[in-house]
């Protein structure tokens, strides 16, 4: 290690510069110096977000072949296709941090990286397509909009693209439920049943209570996280309860009530024991989701290898327009 030549060049100087960018609400870009912990946290957060998108294709993909109208079939296929695309944008953002997609997929397949636990629940009826669009995508959007201003450039830009495309997802979910709620008695019961099963898992999507989230504070200082788990959860409840009233459906929470003093809804928290159990692997669909994902990847290996072999055979002949 030589003598200090210029403060900007030294690790301390770089760290100072890094924090200056963050404090000025600027963007850290791939070639910038960043604390190793910042990079590691981002890789994990972005990758797990990507994994969630692709695992999320399964519960919804489950209903494409059975969609009850051609219009709904088309909308659902487009939605799930978007999710694949979102996964791709996010893997792309994660790769700018120096980790390859294959490595990230290995981490997913081996269980060392996670995906949003909401997808460990089953989609049992068509109404679940409505509930997922309305509640799950609704919760995701509540989480994602602030991330459009996250400090890491590629992640923020991916989030802007995702939020733009996601605008129709939540609306069409709500529309599915509205149609059911105004339909036959059986359809209305189907919609209510879906709300009953998806309400609490959706609340849990925002993560454990602030008091039990030790890393949140550091993520907020780094501009990776803009609002706390509880803040986002409250915001989601406040937005969603009036929507349930429009639907004419009942939120499955007997203690839900508007608190005039606070200016927010009081609500029952999700069962955190269930949350930790499911995240730990003891959910209705964990094994199925992973088996499906790992299976698809394994079955596709010969295809990927073939494409690689072909490219090697024909290398050097692909210049210019393709």
């Amino acid at each position: 290690m030589g003598p200090r030549i210029d403060p900007v060049g030294e690790p301390e100087g770089r760290e100072h510069e890094f924090h200056a960018v963050i404090d000025a609400d600027g963007r850290i870009e791939p070639r910038d110096w960043m604390p190793e912990a910042y990079r590691k946290t981002l890789v994990r957060q972005i990758a797990q977000h990507a994994h969630s998108e692709i695992i999320g294709m399964q519960p919804e993909g489950n209903w494409i072949t059975r969609a009850p109208s051609l219009k709904r079939k088309a909308i659902l296929m487009a939605k799930v296709q978007d999710e694949a695309g979102h996964g791709l944008y996010l893997y792309s953002a994660a790769e700018t941090l120096g980790v390859g997609r294959d490595e990230l997929l290995d981490l997913l397949h081996s269980g060392r990286q996670k995906y949003s636990s909401i997808f460990n629940y089953p989609t049992l009826t068509w109404a679940d397509m409505g509930a997922i669009g309305w509640l799950v995508d609704g919760a995701a959007i509540t989480n994602q909009v602030p991330l459009c201003r996250c400090s890491y450039g590629p992640y923020a830009r991916a989030m802007v693209r995702i939020c733009k495309e996601e605008s129709f997802h939540q609306r069409q979910g709500f529309e599915i439920l509205l149609t059911l709620a105004r339909g036959t008695a059986e359809q209305k019961a189907m919609a209510q049943d879906a709300l009953d099963r998806w309400w609490y898992p959706s609340l849990a999507m925002f993560g454990p209570p602030d008091a039990e989230s030790p890393n949140s504070e550091r993520s907020m200082r780094w501009g990776i996280k803009r609002f706390s788990n509880d803040e986002l959860r409250q915001k989601f409840v406040d937005m969603t309860v009036p929507q349930a009233e429009v639907l004419g459906l009942t939120v499955p929470d007997p203690d839900l009530r508007w608190d005039e003093e606070r200016g927010h809804y009081d609500f029952t928290s999700p069962d955190w024991e269930e949350f930790w159990r499911v995240i730990g692997g003891d959910g209705p669909c964990n094994e199925q989701r992973m088996a499906h994902r790992v299976g698809a990847h394994a079955e596709g290996a010969w295809v990927r290898e073939a494409a690689t072999a072909y490219a090697a055979k024909h290398a050097g002949r692909q210049v210019g327009a393709a």
């Binding site: 009850p68 051609l70 079939k73 694949a84 010969w302």
Partner: protein, 269 residues
């Protein structure tokens, strides 16, 4: 004319014919059912493709085909004039009233089988729609004009994969060749002419399927040759789809597709 039209004494000679529709409606339904059934099959690939980029690509093709199906079915219903819309036709018809080719209803198989089917069918659709752009029926001509661009892309996609699988690894070559063997028995049916196509082609409305064969042969043979694959000589030829006679796979497909809609008669979704 179809050389294998049902004859007295043949196993399907007395099979209940598909219910009669005005000719243009019938024709539109054939094209629409082809697209609908293949879209249904492609929908099964979502979340199962060999690479995430391929989930996007296959969904793309499926969505294009579903779009074609919806306009063609809607048009068929309009021409029929009995108030049937796209969903009535898709969800409430019995199997015997579906007019799709057998090639599109066959199970997906592995990725190679799906790609072999896409190559054969998209090459057929491209020739069909290109001709149909000049249809005397303005609606069919307009549908064809939009579809040509889409199908051109589908054929390109299938071609790229046939090349890579045929001329990739030993395993992929073997699987791709086996896939062709599985799909080829259903090729001839695409080019069968019958009374309906003869009458409508005569009026400049429809395309004579037999006329599509030579350019199809040229296109497909070129791709197979570049891919180091051999064109199969099938031992049997599946036929009957246009008369509503399908393979055993069709019943399963329709059961899955129609069940929810049929469970709630008259409901809106």
């Amino acid at each position: 004319m179809t050389r294998h039209a049902a004859a007295p004494g043949s196993w399907d000679g007395r099979a209940t014919p598909a219910s009669a529709l005005p000719p243009v409606a019938e024709y539109s339904l054939r094209l629409g059912d082809d697209a609908l059934v293949l879209a249904q099959r492609l929908g099964e690939w979502v979340s199962r493709a060999p690479q995430l980029e391929e989930d996007v690509a296959l969904a793309n093709i499926g969505l294009d085909l579903l779009g074609q199906a919806r306009t063609l079915l809607t048009y068929a219903g309009e021409v029929e004039g009995e108030g049937r819309d796209e969903d009535d036709l898709a969800y409430l018809r019995e199997e015997r009233d579906f007019r799709n080719l057998q090639i599109v209803e066959r199970p997906n198989g592995d990725f190679a089988v799906t790609i072999a089917r896409q190559l054969a069918f998209s090459a057929y659709q491209l020739g069909l729609y290109r001709s149909l752009c000049g249809s005397a029926d303005a609606t069919l001509a307009a549908i064809a004009a939009k579809a040509v661009k889409e199908v051109d892309y589908h054929l390109d996609h299938a071609t790229q994969w046939v090349l890579r699988l045929g001329d990739g690894t030993r395993e992929s070559h073997h699987r791709m060749q086996a896939a062709l063997e599985q799909v080829w028995p259903y090729v001839d049916e695409m080019f069968d002419a019958d009374e309906l196509t003869s009458v409508l082609a005569g009026e400049g409305v429809a395309v004579d399927p037999a006329a599509l064969r030579p350019p199809w042969d040229a296109t497909v043979s070129a791709v197979l040759a570049r891919a180091t694959l051999t064109r199969p000589e099938p031992g049997f030829h599946g036929r009957g789809g246009r008369r509503g006679l399908h393979t055993e796979a069709m019943g399963q497909l329709l059961a899955e597709m129609q069940h929810l809609h049929r469970s709630y008669p008259g409901a809106s979704w």
